[in-house]
Symmetry: C2
């Protein structure tokens, strides 16, 4: 059976897809009876278009011409961008094509329109490559774990941040130096904001939360804290306490009480016990840890980005699309619609233990004032340590709390940071268990 | 759509399947449009049969009556046993039913007949639960990684052995004590041979090797070494060197030379560097580590056995069978046929570094004799240590070799163990990198 592909975007991932189709084509043909042929391609510039050698292939710089092309069965969107591709994907679905995309920003922002459209048209909208690069997390959640409730999920889902934190921990580098390293190696963009402030991770977490709970989770209603404010000192302190600092995407469902069943999804840096399976995920690796109701705890670790890992996930979607079993993820796709929105809990409601690093003047009475304010907000202290430092104007005070509500801690810190004895904004890390 | 299930076996896993169908039934019906109904069931004894409450359900103690039952769409084999279920599965396939099984022994032994039969009849023979319990490794290999060559695979796939080795390492227990512990906790059978001698792992490894390479790998042609001969002393020595001892299933494809493309699959205890991702897999957990050509290294960790994890995998297969896309793994299934046998390399050809623990008399000239024999077989020594011990008749000598061929090492050890200065059979562990 011939499957005609229309590809938009021949950048890194697009080239990876061409490479894998080349390598695996004979196998797909022989073992699966699937003959992939690229019948239309769109890229910026003649040089990129020349990568597809077939003279019969329609070449254009207009993505819509591919989306609307009558001789395309599967539309493969690898151009990126969070708004422009929406119209292409819509056109492709409306003209009866399956769609495969690696674009998490597009889906996070417009998925609530695109997935119902795909379901209505009986077409596939597949996105294994959009979350976790080469890790098969989408299919695992959609298919393999379909006998389970997902009770909780924690993920290291942004390689840039994990690389930076790993460098800071291993080489005792500052955040700025580690970021510069990451930029030099191509792991971070020139403008790293999207990664280091947690937005990339949040897009992915919203997709994972939707898949895990069968309800639409809008990333615009979630909180992201990045790693910009994690200092070498925090990492050293965490280490002394037996913890690693990681940027985690966390999805949890309130198990009981008045919030029972509501979903909390967020991205923030955490302290992870060194023995936790996620703590040893180093460098640009990604990992997803699932707490499932039947299968138990499950961990998937692998390359979260890169040309071939991402292309590998695109290929797995191409096979699914080629088999054209429109039913196979229609159920899951229908989850992503505004009419099926998840009942979200704000991060205000998060209950966990906190690591607080205050920067105080070395003066009598400081600790009693600070602990007094914490006590007023019902926050009880598990450990407190004040390290002797050279600079009496800038003394770090580390406070570990017992389980407390995020909102209470934020309110207490607003008061604490307004004190004249506090010299800098208090740094907050949460624990994850 | 109603899907009629015929279940044989209501032991632990069977009960787990009933429990999950109960829990998830409403969700499958509402979100996927799939209504599962158990129309026939077979178990030993009335008490077990009474677990299915539906009075309309056909109940029998004859598995063939379920396999041949006209009102069954999917035959679910959860009885176990490596020979008896063959006839049931054949009957089910011949009467047009899909088959879901958790039975690795059946598939390892009779898969080369059963898979081609399923393909010929256009029916599914699904077995996610047969390897790795709740870990979705079968679907990951069959579908998610279909854009990859699997260059290598290493797995901790027998929870009993991993539990015993973990206990020996953490609690400094002897093998016998750790085994007794495992038996007390229900992790090991009264007759533990099948697990601790590596046979259970070998069944699973043969299935994984077939899936990974698209060629039939017959377990009867593979080598299994279990953990019976791993001593507390070996684990202590490994620890001092910075290694963990694990029972690994290893599948590799010779990358070059005259054996290029040939497959080596085996089960044996190895020394793993402590930083290796598999080294931290503790207790009854299972893990599969894949070296893939495009997606990079990938690790899946989770519960390798147990009622609900195994049932979770059965459920994911039920969904696939229900969607009835007969094409979806027909390709992979056809791999398992005697006519498509893999070109296997014997473990004789394995090249790796070795850990050898000799038990020698403390007498001048011992080391020169031993090292002389190793040298005669072209085996070069990376490190040698002789520990002072109380018993001069039983001195442990640890030798680490550089990379050497398994056959050469075995030949050298046959000579060494025949020396009158050697008091016990030399223990062999291999390194895995």
């Amino acid at each position: 059976m011939e499957i005609r592909l229309g590809i938009v975007g021949l950048g890194t991932v697009g080239q990876g897809v061409l490479e894998l189709l080349e390598r695996q084509g004979a196998f797909y043909s022989k073992s699966l009876g699937l003959d992939f042929r690229i019948t239309a391609v769109c890229a910026r510039g003649e040089k990129a278009l020349a990568r597809v050698a077939d003279p019969a292939c329609f070449k254009t710089q207009d993505p819509l011409a591919v989306a609307n092309h009558p001789e395309v069965d599967v539309f493969v969107e690898l151009a990126g961008g969070e708004d422009a591709p929406k119209a292409w994907v819509e056109a492709a679905l409306k003209s009866g094509k399956h769609v495969v995309t690696a674009n998490k920003a597009l889906l996070a922002k417009h998925g609530a329109e695109l997935f119902p459209l795909a379901a209505a048209r009986g077409r596939q909208l597949l996105f294994e490559a959009a979350v976790g690069g080469g890790i098969p997390i989408v299919r695992t959640l959609q298919e393999s774990l379909i006998g389970n409730d997902i009770e909780g999920l924690a993920c290291i889902i942004n390689g840039t941040c994990n690389y930076i934190l790993t460098q800071m921990a291993v080489n005792k580098e500052s955040f700025a130096d580690a970021l510069a390293d990451a930029q030099r190696l191509g792991y971070a963009e020139a403008d790293p904001t999207f990664d280091i402030d947690g937005w990339d991770a949040l897009h992915k977490v919203s997709l994972l939360a939707s898949l895990a709970h069968g309800k639409y989770v809008d990333y615009r209603r979630l909180t992201a804290e990045g790693i910009r404010n994690v200092s070498a000192l925090d990492i050293r302190m965490a280490e002394e306490l037996g913890y690693e600092v990681k940027l985690l995407g966390v999805v949890e469902r309130a198990p009981s009480g008045e919030s029972a069943g509501r979903i909390l999804a967020a991205v923030y840096p955490v302290l992870l016990e060194r023995a936790h399976q996620l703590a040893s995920v180093q460098g640009v690796l990604n990992a997803v840890y699932l707490k499932t109701s039947a299968a138990g705890p499950l961990l998937l670790t692998g390359a979260g980005a890169g040309k071939l890992p991402t292309a590998s996930s695109v290929l797995s979607d191409l096979i699914v699309a080629a088999r054209c079993d429109a039913s196979s993820s229609a159920g899951a796709n229908a989850f992503f619609s505004a009419g099926n929105a998840a009942d979200l809990l704000s991060i205000d409601e998060l209950e966990t233990e906190f690591y607080l690093r205050l920067t105080a003047v070395d003066r009598p009475g400081v600790l009693s004032k600070v602990t007094g304010i914490l006590g007023d907000h019902g926050i009880s202290i598990r450990a407190l340590s004040q390290k002797p430092e050279h600079d009496a104007e800038n003394v770090p005070v580390i406070i570990l709390t017992h389980t407390a509500k995020n909102l209470d801690v934020m309110r207490a810190l607003a008061e604490i940071d307004a004190l004249d004895i506090i010299r800098d904004r208090t740094r907050v890390l949460r624990f994850y268990k």
